[in-house]
């Protein structure tokens, strides 16, 4: 009898208690996430060269993802599902598929953070390691493995990781890509040394180390009648050091990166070491801000597969030194980073002319930017051996000198002014020089493109909820496709509705059949974090670049639907 009672007692307790524990576990946590669905339906368009034949039955494309995050106190788990059935035109066909793309579990306290699964990480400015994801490019080089972050003392941050990189849907197998290992340390001197905590000068030092291990050991090359077999390094290490000094409105940042010799498809299998230096200096106070930047990149392509030629499996990120424009004609000739060598500088000033005669009733905003990118000087190492020859040390290059070939330059001036409570305008002028051969991977086929762009963007607020925006753009060039004119008229009903009509007309094209209108009609509805947008029209062929990484967008005609939401 007693036993039965005790048993009953125990069982009841357990059954009464279990659901409570389980519920606590679920209740203590929150689930959040987001979705995006991009769908396109394609029409035939003879003028764009799109016929039933060229489409080959591919009438639509769908790119979609969903992220789910579960957080409970110090614990977070996440899962990312992706669908490309089939991928939209312009995205790699290797993306085709539908599955869980990434997952992770993470535990974080003030002292330690542990991550298993897929993670994104950046050391310093990313010149020897950065994994990131950019949906609009179809780019994801997330690392899958283990990461540990430690904060042992105030002002000290340590990181260590090991993993392999995502390559579309290809599972990791022996030898199909390398293993990436890395460590980073950052020291905020003012937080480490109490007597400096009140100092106006803040100093941050950092250092990182990355190593790639790849199984491939030899590269066979046939040159004339001879067959060469090159021995390739299995481990390729890279190092970087950085310094950041901040005082009042001043901020100086500099990072130097060094990579050991890394023969690869990207550098034509030369055995030269790589180097990069990136520095910026800025000063600002309320009303004015100035930034100067300089960068040198020499043989810094660093991928976890040495035979890779596509823009995937990048271990590092080389920030391009050119302004990221907001208007479509100013992004028609975009700059993309040249990892094999570039010398660049940039200057930018932003200031506000205060209210008054010159500044007007509300003040006027001015922004000026200039950037220029050249090649690096490459000199033969030995008489008779051409620069960049496979199996050699490649070339020698004086560190601080600019090469003679211009890759890109961009001057821009933008003025924003509010004229009355309801009317404001943004006008701009941009002058670009674009080395189309180099930046689109050709050789001696195209002349440099010189383009002048004018922009006038006027917004009129009709009342508290209704507004009209008229955007006009003109592009003048004698090269490439000649002159363009574009206009957009947009109507918004805050905070939920928008609609717009737009046209870009290539009236200056030498080929009269290609003097086309790229028209588009769009409408959208936003409710909190949910947005639905529909676009019908023609899509101009071109390069879409984010962070110096570009994706070719082919010409298309059709309907695009985008649905995005988060919760």
């Amino acid at each position: 009898m007693k036993k039965t009672i005790i048993l009953l007692l125990t069982l009841t307790s357990i059954f009464a208690y279990l659901p409570v524990r389980a519920q606590e576990l679920i209740q203590g946590g929150t689930v959040s996430g987001n979705f995006q669905i991009d769908g396109q339906y394609y029409n035939e368009d003879k003028a764009l060269g799109i016929t039933a034949d060229t489409m080959a039955g591919k009438r639509y494309g769908v790119n979609a993802f969903g992220n789910l995050l579960y957080t409970n106190g110090k614990f977070t788990a996440g899962l990312r599902f992706e669908t490309y059935l089939p991928p939209m035109t312009g995205y790699s066909t290797s993306l085709e598929g539908s599955n869980i793309a990434n997952w992770f579990a993470d535990y974080k306290t003030d002292f330690i953070q542990l991550t298993v699964g897929n993670f994104y990480e950046q050391f310093g400015s990313g010149m020897i390691l950065r994994s990131y994801e950019e949906w609009s490019l179809g780019y994801d080089n997330s690392l899958k493995g283990i990461r540990v972050k430690l904060n042992p003392f105030k002002g000290v941050a340590l990181k260590g990781l090991v993993g392999y990189q995502r390559s579309y849907w290809t599972p990791y197998e022996d030898g199909n890509r390398g293993i990436v290992r890395g460590a980073d340390a950052e020291f905020y001197i003012n937080e480490m040394i109490p007597s400096l905590s009140e100092s106006r000068t803040k100093v941050i030092l950092g250092g990182s180390f990355v190593s790639k291990y790849e199984k491939m050991t030899t590269k066979r090359l046939v040159r004339g009648d001879s067959i060469y077999e090159y021995k390739l390094p299995r481990n390729i290490a890279s190092f970087a050091g950085r310094l950041n000094v901040i005082r009042g409105g001043w901020n100086f940042m500099s990072e130097y990166a060094y990579k050991m010799n890394n023969p690869s498809a990207a550098n034509n299998f030369i055995y030269k070491e790589g180097q990069a230096l990136y520095s910026t200096l800025s000063w600002s106070t309320k009303g004015i801000g100035v930034m100067l930047g300089a960068k040198r990149v020499d043989n810094m392509s660093y991928k976890s597969r040495m035979n890779e030629t596509e823009s995937i499996l990048d271990i590092n990120f080389l920030p391009p030194l050119a302004k990221q424009h907001q208007y479509s004609f100013a992004t028609m000739y975009p700059f993309s980073t040249q990892p094999n060598g570039e010398m660049a500088y940039q200057a930018q000033i932003d200031f506000k002319i205060p209210k008054g005669n010159l500044g007007g009733k509300y003040g006027t905003q001015v922004s000026v930017n200039y950037s220029q990118v050249n090649n690096i000087k490459k000199e033969q190492i030995e008489e008779g051996i051409p620069v960049d020859s496979t199996g050699t040390l490649g070339y020698s290059s004086p560190f601080f000198s600019f090469g003679d070939e211009l890759y890109y330059s961009d001057f821009s001036l933008f003025i924003t002014r509010k004229f009355s409570k309801s009317t404001k305008a943004n006008v701009g002028y941009v002058y670009q020089q674009y080395n189309k051969d180099v930046l689109t991977g050709h050789n001696g086929e195209y002349p440099n493109v010189l383009a002048s762009i004018f922009i006038a963007d006027i917004t009129v607020r009709l009342n508290d909820k209704n507004a009209l925006r008229l955007e006009n753009q003109w592009l003048f060039t004698k090269q490439d496709k000649g002159n363009w004119v574009g206009g957009t008229l947009e109507y918004t009903f805050a905070p939920k509705w928008f609609m717009s009509v737009a046209d870009e007309y290539n009236y200056g094209n030498d080929d009269s059949d290609q003097q086309l209108h790229y028209y588009a009609i769009s409408a959208g509805y936003t409710d909190g974090p949910t947005r639905i947008a529909v676009n019908y029209g023609r899509q101009r062929e071109g390069l879409l670049c984010v962070g110096g990484v570009c994706r070719f967008v082919p010409a298309a005609n059709g309907i695009t639907i985008t649905i995005t939401s988060s919760f």
Binding site: L8, K74, Q326, A494
Partner: protein, 176 residues
């Protein structure tokens, strides 16, 4: 005796279940714990962001994003008045990467903004907040709970935003 015991146990279980149910009321999400940098290069844990019990607006933006700049410029004109009236604080989280992150402070200063700036160079905070497209704006109440969010900007939607802040200050509920 046995019956009393069983009844007592059932009572205990019942009470516990009720307790559990009380806590199942909708919990509002809080800010995740992510390390980002401020303009002084210091690491800031986003879970510690606060405005002394007053509402806070977190706005994700980037230098290349036209509507983001428009939104922050529009609000900048009335920000002083907003702060005076409601005590609200705006935290502008730039997702610019290493290409442009060193331009963020000079540009914000050059535009005369006085927002608190955070640099989310590798989009860690953006991912943890489930942000797809920018501008994406969150409204956080005095307890650090996310009560409202909105993506995109259209002229006049800043008026809705400040109205929601006023509602929060009056202690009214905000439904999305």
């Amino acid at each position: 005796m046995k019956k009393i015991l069983v009844a007592a146990l059932m009572l205990v279980g019942f009470v516990q279940m009720i307790n559990a149910q009380e806590t199942t009321e909708k919990r509002l999400p809080k800010l995740p714990s992510i390390d980002v940098k401020n303009a002084d290069g210091q690491t800031v844990n986003t879970a510690t962001l606060s405005n002394d019990g007053k509402p806070m607006i977190i706005s994700f933006w980037a230098l290349w994003c036209k509507p983001c700049i428009k939104e922050l410029t529009t609000i900048a004109e009335v920000y002083d008045e907003w702060q005076e009236e409601t005590g609200v604080k705006i935290i502008a989280v730039s997702i610019d990467d290493a290409r442009s992150s060193s331009k963020v402070k000079p540009t914000a200063d050059g535009k005369g903004w006085s927002y608190e700036l955070l640099l989310d160079q590798n989009s860690d905070f953006k991912r943890a907040m489930n942000v797809n497209l920018i501008p994406h704006t969150f409204l956080v109440n005095g307890k650090g709970e996310i009560v409202w969010q909105h993506t995109s900007f259209s002229e006049g939607s800043e008026l809705e935003l400040i109205e929601l802040v006023r509602k929060l200050n009056r202690g009214e509920a905000i439904s999305e």
